[in-house]
Every structure is written in structure tokens, then in C-alpha cells.
Amino acid sequence: MYITPDFAKSVSSWLHTVSLEEPLPLDHHVPFTCDNEFREIIDPVNIEAPALQVDHTRWFAKVALLTGYSADDYDEIMDSEKQKDLTQKLKFIVQRQDRSQLMLLGGEWEPTLDGDGDPAQDATLIPAAIRHAREQIQLDLSPCTRWYRFLEIHYHRVVPNTVPAMVARDITVVFLPSVWDLLPSMDEVSSVTSYF
């Protein structure tokens, strides 16, 4: 595995948020449809990324949208003849740029847009993740009731043109939101489908 030069450390936050008593509910199957046709919907809020400053820490909130597995998937995994693995059935929503570059949804936390507070806290970073997801895939994640803080990735970067060399920090926090909360209930679906 290639490791980027600025990478400093990785913190497994899931150890505190996921437990045997309260596991990740992967059996909630959430189907996604990706539409990559060009449609300009909303005016994005354009913000220039701030220049890297001395002793400056930037926080990034990212989200991994997990599809979970369906009942059929479960049957296939359990079927010893088919030899399907859970890793083949579990899917993520990622963004692909320029062929090989993959990225999670999300972006930088901006106090002016996402609210002030301690960025180390989930409550401060979640609005940033919601804002970016809304802008990037037109999806409102605010109804998600649970946000599993899964991973923290720290980078240490040398600030250019500083003598002696100063180091600035970037911290990316990856969340797994409960996307199954976005699906409508059966009653809601049937009430709408009955019109057609």
C-alpha cells in the first residue's frame, strides 16, 4: 500500500463507537442510484481553501455511505455452493475523478458555514459533512439519526517558506451515517404509489 508522505497517524475511532453490544447494522439494505448526467441544480457556495498557515489545523469531515446487504445477499453469502463473501456484497458510495482517483464525500469544516465549536466533537463536524454531501451528490443527510465516527486520519505538513520549518496539521474524520434513515417507510411508499 502506498502511503502519502504527509500521513502522520490514523486513529480508529470505531473502537469507541461500535461495539459487540451495538454493532454496525449492516443488514439495513439501502439501494442507491447514481446519476452522472449533467444537471445544474443549486448554486454551490464557493469557498477558497484557506492557505496553510503556521500552527493551523484544518478539519475535514468525510462520509462513507454504506449500502448494507439485502436478504438475497445474505442467502448467497450463507450458501456454501455460491461461495460469496460479505466483502463482495457490501458496497460504498465513492466519487471517482480522473479515472483512478477515488474519494469519499465530504470536505473541509468551515466555522462560518457549519457553525462554531470544537471541531474534535462530532456535533461540530457533522454539519460540514451534511453541507458537502448536499453539494456533491444532492443528498440531504440531515435525517440520519446516527453518525458512527469511524476513523481519523492525521497529516502533518511542512509550511512552505518557514525557517525553521513549521508543521501544520490536517485531520480528516470519516463518518458512517445511518443512511437507512433516509428511506421512506412502507406506508409512505404505498401512499405515493397508489396515485399512479
Binding site: T4, P23, V30, F92, M103
Partner: protein, 188 residues
């Protein structure tokens, strides 16, 4: 009696005239072709416009009757997408009749084309789904995709040199290390 030079001069002049006539002929044909194309295009646009107008009228009529019935039902914002599409005055595509889960921003600043995403009926998914729309001016070279955990684990290592890809790989790596034990799923 005409000299050799005079004969040559006449010959050249005739040839030039011939070429000029051929050029004019070609230009005339090209002009006619373009005019024909324009005419066809205008005709097509006119027909399309008439069709859209007709659809709009039908959609407005359908929406009116639907909204009257719908007042007492508190439906999910995302499911209402299909109704809203029907009422959209600017849309030219056919109205979706499938329950497409479309979560739209509410507090974002709105533009004139903000209203809603219209999905072509033929492209609409059969079941309830979360609909993700990526392509916008700001992210032209990005595409949203669903990749399996397995596929991500086997992903091209070269891509890791980019930080965003490194982060995806790191997440997937941690998930696999976690062995999904904590997911409540017993892996044999």
C-alpha cells in the same frame, strides 16, 4: 493567326473560368444544403415546443387533481419528488411515475433551475432507492459509483498517491482489519 502565347492564354482563361464555375456550383449546393438543414431544425424545434406545451398542460392538470387528494397525507419529501416533477413548469422530460427517493436540499440558496431533478421514466429505478446526482459544473470530471468492499481492497495501488484515494483505502483497510466482527455478522 494566333500565336502560341495567345493560344496558351486563352486556354488558361478557359480553365480558370471552368474552375470558377465549379466553385460557384459547389458553394450553391452547400448553401442549399445548409438552408435545408436549418429548415429541418426549425421545424423540429417547433414540433418539440408544441409537444412540451402539450405535456405541460397535461402535467398541470394531473398535478392539480393529485394535490387536492394529497393535502391530508404527510408524505416523505423525497417521495413527493414525482408529484413535484409533474408540476414543474420548466421541465421538458417525461414525468416519472416510479417512487424515486430524492432528497433535496431545503436551506440552500435557490436558483431559477433549482426546483427539482426530473428523471426520465424509462431510466427510473423499479424500486425505492436513494437517488444521487453528481454532475454539476463544479464537479464536471467526477462520477459517483458504488464499489464493493472487495473491489476497493483490490483497487489499483498507484491511486493511493492521492490523499483522497489513500483515505478510501485506509477506511476499507480498517474495515477489513475489523473483520466485520463488530458488524454483528458472523463470518464463517
Amino acid at each position: 493567326m494566333a500565336t502560341w502565347e495567345q493560344r496558351e492564354h486563352t486556354k488558361l482563361k478557359r480553365q480558370k473560368d471552368k474552375e470558377e464555375r465549379a466553385r460557384l456550383e459547389r458553394e450553391k449546393i452547400e448553401k442549399e444544403r445548409l438552408e435545408k438543414q436549418d429548415k429541418e431544425r426549425i421545424e423540429k424545434e417547433k414540433q418539440e415546443k408544441e409537444r412540451i406545451e402539450k405535456e405541460k398542460l397535461e402535467a398541470a392538470a394531473t398535478s392539480e387533481s393529485t394535490e387536492q387528494q394529497d393535502e391530508s397525507v404527510n408524505t416523505n419529501q423525497s417521495i413527493e419528488q414525482t408529484n413535484e416533477q409533474a408540476a414543474a413548469p420548466e421541465t421538458a422530460e417525461p414525468v416519472t411515475t416510479q417512487p424515486v427517493t430524492e432528497t433535496k436540499p431545503e436551506s440552500e440558496p435557490t436558483s431559477k433551475s433549482e426546483s427539482e431533478i426530473v428523471v426520465d421514466k424509462s431510466k427510473a429505478p423499479k424500486d425505492v432507492t436513494i437517488y444521487l446526482n453528481t454532475k454539476r459544473e463544479k464537479f464536471l470530471n467526477r462520477k459517483t459509483a458504488q464499489l464493493s468492499l472487495d473491489g476497493l481492497l483490490d483497487y489499483d495501488y498507484e491511486g493511493d498517491r492521492w490523499e483522497p484515494t489513500f483515505e478510501v483505502r485506509r477506511l476499507v483497510g480498517v474495515l477489513s482489519i475489523m473483520g466485520l466482527t463488530f458488524s454483528g455478522f458472523f463470518v464463517c
